[in-house]
């Protein structure tokens, strides 16, 4: 499994992956990911009668992308990362010098997978936000912000939501004169 982030993940003895996402989920809630079935569950420790708040089975490619997005969170996930998640066996080659049409064509599988992933993520109160020319970033849906306001980390969450709106603008200038290979390696 490519998931290896220490802060977010704890590998259980079984095949479940426990994702806490303290900046996105209210206290006492965690995401449980079952990679074999491609099922993600939102579990609440405080709701003893109905602890499973949401459950969704992701399509295959959407799940591959989701894993990578969760893996790199709280950083944004670059297009290169997402393509590598979809095609791990193939050499991913995306040149920043490509014209926009060719660029979009290369990224079409990513767009499709992201689109399919979004429907599922919304059930968990999460959304995926595009960072123009860079990649995607996981964040809370605006409609679910009030859920986080009750937690002691609400000020942090508000800051994150504000930050995510900034992310929609290009934050990192695309290197123009760098060698493509170097650029690809750096962004992986």
């Amino acid at each position: 499994m490519p998931i290896s982030q220490e802060q977010c993940y704890e590998h259980a003895d079984t095949s479940f992956l426990y994702v806490t996402l303290p900046d996105l989920l209210p206290a006492g809630q965690l995401l449980v990911v079952e990679p074999a079935l491609r099922v993600m569950t939102l579990f609440s420790f405080s709701a003893s009668n109905n602890p499973i708040l949401a459950q969704y089975r992701f399509p295959y490619y959407a799940f591959l992308v989701l894993q990578r997005v969760l893996d790199v969170h709280p950083k944004f996930c670059s297009h290169w990362d997402l393509l590598a998640a979809l095609y791990p066996e193939q050499k991913v080659y995306l040149s920043p010098k490509q014209d926009e049409a060719a660029w979009r064509d290369n990224l079409r599988p990513v767009y499709r997978a992201i689109e399919r992933m979004t429907a599922g993520l919304h059930q968990f109160g999460l959304g995926i936000y595009a960072i123009y020319g860079q990649g995607y970033h996981l964040d809370v849906l605006p409609a679910h912000n009030h859920l986080l306001d009750t937690s002691p980390r609400s000020h942090h969450c508000e800051a994150r939501v504000a930050m995510s709106s900034c992310f929609r603008q290009p934050m990192i200038a695309a290197p123009e004169k760098e060698d493509d290979k170097t650029f690809l390696q750096e962004n992986r």
């Binding site: 259980a12 079984t14 479940f16 426990y18 079935l37 579990f43 602890p51 499973i52 949401a54 459950q55």
Partner: protein
């Protein structure tokens, strides 16, 4: 014992079937069953996705626990048309036609058994009655995928129940 389902998820914690503190959550839309231990830091013990027929049978068996769930009742939920044919009394119980009519039930039971082993549960065939859900007879540890040998035993067991009729 059974709580009202919300978000299409039904919760079952029948005493005598599961260890204390463990709950089965059945998501009807996805046909996914989760066994979890609410007090644990890592609560999920096992998760299985069932076929539509196996999931229906699993639900019926859980509803009926600790009683046996009759063949007619299972057939009614799997195939109402076939069940109607049976209820009209044209088919003698135990006859060849009856066994043929019950084929969807046997098939669902066989498929359910494979998944149930992950929860440490088993479907016991009660002769001329139906199926009863209960703890697995073997010492299969929870959450562990059932071995092929164990599965083949389970299959044989289910077939034996059908062959007797």
């Amino acid at each position: 014992m059974i709580e009202k389902p919300r978000n299409a998820i039904a919760y079952f914690s029948p005493p005598g079937l599961l260890p204390p503190g463990q709950v089965l959550a059945l998501n009807q839309a996805l046909r996914i069953a989760v066994l979890y231990q609410a007090e644990s830091e890592q609560p999920f013990v096992a998760m299985v996705q069932f076929s539509p027929q196996a999931f229906l049978l699993f639900q019926r068996a859980l509803d009926a626990f600790p009683q046996c769930c009759s063949f007619e009742e299972i057939l009614q939920s799997l195939s109402p048309a076939l069940a109607q044919h049976l209820l009209q009394g044209h088919v003698a119980e135990g006859s060849k036609s009856w066994v043929q009519l019950m084929r969807p039930v046997y098939k669902a039971a066989r498929k359910a058994t494979e998944g149930l082993l992950s929860f440490g549960l088993e479907l016991h065939s009660v002769r001329s009655m139906g199926y009863k859900i209960g703890p697995a007879r073997s010492s299969l540890s929870l959450g562990e995928p059932p071995s092929l040998a164990r599965l083949s035993f389970a299959r044989r067991g289910t077939h034996r129940g059908t062959d007797e009729r």
